[in-house]
C-alpha cells in the first residue's frame, strides 16, 4: 500500500492503521485456544507493526509524516473474557509509544486512539451484541459511541496543525477511564 501511495501520488503524509479483528467470542483465558491467540497477534499486532515499518521507511525520506494506530480501551486496561484481543491492543500501544520516541526528531508523529465499544460493523456483527446494553450502562455517558464521534477525533489527531502531539494513546470512551 505504501508503494501504491508513492507510485500514484509520490508521497505518504498520513497512515492510519485501522484494520483489526474483533474477538470471536467471550471466553476466559484458560479456555482460549492458540488459534485465537495467533489470529489476534498476527492481525492486530503484526498487521500494525509491518504497516508502520514500511510507512516509517517512506516517511523518513520526506520532511514529515503522521501515523495513527487504532487501538482500543482494551489496550489501556484489562478486558475480561477477551484477553487475547486486550493483549494485542496493549501491544499496539507499545509499538506506538516506542516508535514515537524513535522518530520524534524525524518529524514523524505517531499516536493511537483507544475507543471503547463503538457501534461499528465489527462490533455489531460480533458475538458481543448481547453484552452491548450492559457495556453502555457501565459508562458515565450510559451509551456507546457512534462511529462518527470517534472519527471526529481521529481527524484531529492526524490534522497537520496538531504538530506537537506524539506518543499518545487517547481514550475516546464516554468518560469510562475517568471513573
Amino acid at each position: 500500500m505504501v508503494d501504491a501511495a508513492i507510485l500514484e501520488y509520490g508521497q505518504l503524509d498520513i497512515a492510519i492503521n485501522n484494520a483489526g479483528i474483533a474477538p470471536s467470542e467471550l471466553l476466559p483465558l484458560h479456555l482460549t485456544d492458540e488459534q485465537t491467540m495467533d489470529m489476534q497477534f498476527n492481525v492486530n499486532v503484526k498487521g500494525v507493526q509491518l504497516g508502520m515499518k514500511h510507512q516509517i521507511a517512506q516517511m523518513l525520506s520526506q520532511p514529515e509524516g503522521v501515523i495513527l494506530n487504532v487501538s482500543s480501551m482494551a489496550g489501556l486496561g484489562g478486558a475480561p473474557y477477551i484477553s487475547s484481543y486486550s493483549a494485542a491492543k496493549h501491544a499496539v500501544l507499545g509499538l506506538t509509544k516506542s516508535a514515537a520516541i524513535e522518530y520524534a526528531t524525524k518529524n514523524i508523529r505517531i499516536n493511537a486512539i483507544c475507543p471503547f465499544f463503538t457501534l461499528t460493523k465489527m462490533i455489531t456483527d460480533s458475538g458481543l451484541t448481547k453484552s452491548l446494553d450492559k457495556l453502555a450502562e457501565g459508562t458515565p455517558m450510559k451509551r456507546l459511541a457512534n462511529p462518527e464521534e470517534v472519527v471526529a477525533f481521529m481527524l484531529l489527531m492526524v490534522s497537520p496543525k496538531n504538530s506537537y502531539m506524539t506518543g499518545q494513546c487517547v481514550a475516546v470512551d464516554g468518560g469510562l477511564s475517568a471513573s
Binding site: 500500500m1 498487521g47 470517534v150 492526524v158 497537520p160
Partner: protein
C-alpha cells in the same frame, strides 16, 4: 481542517472507522490509498469516493 495535497493511507477502509475516516479525509481534500481484506467492499468504497470527486 484542510487536508488538501496530503496523501493518506488507511487500512480496513471497507467499513467502520476506516470507511468514515476515508470519507472525512476525502471531503477535506486528501488523496487516498485504501485497503481491506474485504477486497470487493473496499473497491466499492473507492468507486463511491471517486464518484463524489475524491
Amino acid at each position: 481542517m484542510d487536508f488538501t495535497g496530503k496523501t493518506a493511507l488507511i487500512t480496513g477502509a471497507a467499513q467502520g472507522f476506516g470507511l468514515l475516516i476515508a470519507e472525512s479525509l476525502a471531503q477535506r481534500g486528501a488523496k487516498l490509498v485504501i485497503g481491506d481484506v474485504n477486497v470487493a467492499g473496499v473497491k466499492k468504497v473507492a468507486r463511491d469516493l471517486c464518484a463524489k470527486g475524491a
